[in-house]
């Protein structure tokens, strides 16, 4: 315990009182100094905390500033209703719809995989598995979300695609299905971990109430624990959606990069994120319309994830149950 030096400055805590010190002694210089030092540190710490706000301002500002130039050139109507996205062609077209459908299709495929599996895993770990199993399985599953997404992209292209081609003959090498499925598996731990936390936070007394009525495990889990933990579970779903929309490398590698207005997951298509990557890989001059188009795409992506973040916030408020 070398922390004892605190005793050397026994007045420091009282320094907030400043001049009006009841001791009546002349204002000590050390007292003033330590007060100034304390204030200085607090200001520094505040600035660090406030830097996060600066980052947000930077994000929103940059997106708005750069896409403002874009929308000075492209009408909002064309952007939102056009069905062709060819900003780098000689005669460019700027309809974002193909990128949005690409994003939605891969997201939906990922969610179809991640939400049911993640929920079942959460229920299994929280209500069925012995604690020894849970202690091992939970960190193991969390490793799934630690694997770099570019590695998942490789896996989707080199492993999942050939595998799915056996199930669906004629499936092209690049397709949204493989990318979506792998993305879904990557998202499982987001759903299962958070949902399990939420379910384990449900007080034991509720479970005992259900078991005392003669309920079995699955009924207790589905009819009592799941609804009681709904706020946390919904939050995990929203997080999963938000992750899937913003995921980049898997789709950039495995879904193909051509904008393609389709709802068929077996086709290749570009997502908003994949388009940004594709443009960034080339060498676009700063200030060109192609350069600006990635910011317009970025704004769209940002708004989509923002909507889900806000939705998650509202749902969490509405479903908040008091035990």
């Amino acid at each position: 315990m070398k922390e004892i030096p605190a005793l050397e400055h026994p007045v420091a805590a009282a320094a907030d009182l400043g001049m009006g010190s009841p001791s009546g002694n002349a204002p000590s210089v050390t007292k003033r100094l330590s007060y100034i030092k304390e204030r200085f540190i607090e200001v520094l710490l505040f600035l660090a905390a406030f830097s996060s706000v600066a980052i947000t301002v930077g994000i929103v500002g940059t997106l708005l500033y750069e896409s403002a130039s874009f929308f000075a050139y492209v009408s909002l109507k064309e952007f939102l209703t056009g069905t062709l996205w060819t900003p780098l062609f000689a005669s460019p077209r700027f309809g974002i719809l193909p990128l949005i459908t690409g994003t939605l299709v891969t997201t939906v495929v990922a969610l179809v995989v991640a939400l049911p599996i993640g929920t079942v895993v959460a229920i299994y770990l929280s209500e069925f598995a012995p604690s020894s199993v849970r202690e091992i399985v939970k960190p193991a599953l969390e490793l799934l979300s630690a694997v770099p997404t570019v590695v998942y992209g490789y896996f989707a292209l080199q492993f999942m695609s050939p595998l799915l081609q056996k199930l669906f003959p004629g499936l092209p090498t690049f397709n949204m299905l493989s990318a979506g499925v792998v993305m879904g598996i990557m998202i499982i731990p987001y759903v299962s971990s958070l949902s399990e936390d939420a379910m384990r936070a449900v007080p034991m007394s509720l479970r005992e109430g259900a078991y005392a009525m003669g309920a079995n495990r699955i009924i207790t889990a589905l009819k009592v624990v799941y609804p009681a933990a709904l706020s946390g579970i919904v939050a995990s779903y929203i997080l999963a959606i938000s992750r899937a929309i913003g995921e980049t490398m898997i789709v950039a590698i495995a879904a193909g990069m051509q904008p393609n207005l389709t709802l068929d997951p077996r086709e290749p298509a570009a997502t908003i994120t994949a388009f940004i990557v594709q443009v960034s890989l080339g060498d676009l001059p700063h200030g060109s319309i192609g350069y600006q188009s990635i910011f317009a795409a970025g704004v769209t992506l940002f708004i989509m994830t923002l909507i889900f973040n806000i939705l998650g916030y509202i749902l969490r408020k509405r479903f908040r149950e008091v035990y």
Binding site: S205, E208, Y211, A212, M213, A215, N216, E321
Partner: protein, 292 residues
């Protein structure tokens, strides 16, 4: 306070040492009182040589006692004496947790089934018992669905379900207060109402024994009084066991009282006898507030 506590503990250590292997003092009036009661002198459950362990810790030591049908038996004793542990043996709630172990028997009459026997299914026992817990633990569902929960588990549906829910809410003296808000979340009810909802939920499945685990410890005096009246009335329909650390409550609602200490049953007697003339000094000291 602390002085009397020490005296209490001192005398108690003597007591437990000397009485370690003695049978608990069961008043001879127990059986007689049972027979005097008009209508139902029957025994509903008999506990024989019950030991219970949490891992290596023995929480119940050689409990032997009977519970009369259609009467209220109160179990009192200081915190940690094992009274809730004993109660929770009846619906095998302990089975939910790892490393718990029963020894001995709890024979349920008239079926003669040993409800803690390894051959007995905990699920079946929980279907035949009901329990009301310390804190109201209404499910995050509507008032109606809370009461219907156990019935649905048993396959009841339709009009029958509705009628039985209403019947249970009436028995729990809650119907008039909630009949217009059956579809609202149970959490909109007050604490006392929620606890009566839990009683209605427990009654709905027509249990053989209704177990109360300190049902009023989280409630205000008015809500407590309502629930005590309810418990008193309920014995016409069902056998009641109530664990409480409130001796006045035991005196008010029960026909028989059992006093437990450190996992042992010290004394079992008709409530009147127990509170006016306990046979054992330790009981008297507890009842008169010298410790616990």
């Amino acid at each position: 306070m602390s002085a009397s506590l020490e005296i209490g503990i001192a005398s108690l250590t003597q007591m437990t040492i000397s009485d370690q292997h003695a049978q608990p003092q069961v008043s001879s009036e127990v059986a007689e009182a049972g027979q005097k009661t008009v209508g139902s002198p029957k025994i509903k459950a008999e506990v024989e040589g019950l030991n219970f362990f949490y891992g290596k810790l023995q929480a119940l030591k050689n409990i032997n006692m009977g519970f009369n049908a259609n009467q209220v038996t109160a179990i009192i004793g200081p915190s940690g004496c094992g009274k809730s542990t004993l109660l929770r043996c009846f619906n095998r709630i302990h089975d939910l947790y790892p490393e718990t172990r029963y020894e001995g028997k709890i024979i349920l009459q008239p079926s003669g089934i040993n409800l803690i026997g390894p051959e007995t299914d905990p699920l079946e026992m929980r279907m035949r018992m009901s329990m009301v817990f310390q804190k109201p633990n209404a499910f995050p569902k509507s008032v109606f669905d809370n009461v219907a929960f156990g019935l649905r588990l048993r396959g009841v549906a339709g009009k029958e379900l509705k009628d039985q829910v209403e019947q249970s809410l009436r028995s729990a003296a809650l119907w008039d207060e909630v009949k217009d808000r059956l579809r609202e979340s149970a959490y909109t009810l007050s604490g006392g109402q929620q606890q009566r909802l839990c009683i209605a939920r427990a009654l709905a499945t027509e249990p053989e024994i209704l177990l109360f685990d300190e049902p009023t410890s989280a409630l205000d005096p008015i809500a407590t009084a309502k629930i005590e009246n309810l418990i008193f009335d309920l014995k016409r329909e069902v056998t009641v066991v109530i664990v409480t650390h409130n001796m006045q409550q035991a005196a008010r609602v029960s026909d028989f009282t059992a006093f437990m200490y450190l996992g042992e049953l010290i004394e079992l007697a008709p409530t009147k006898v127990m509170f006016e003339n306990p046979a054992i000094k330790l009981t008297e000291e507890y009842i008169t507030g010298h410790f616990g």
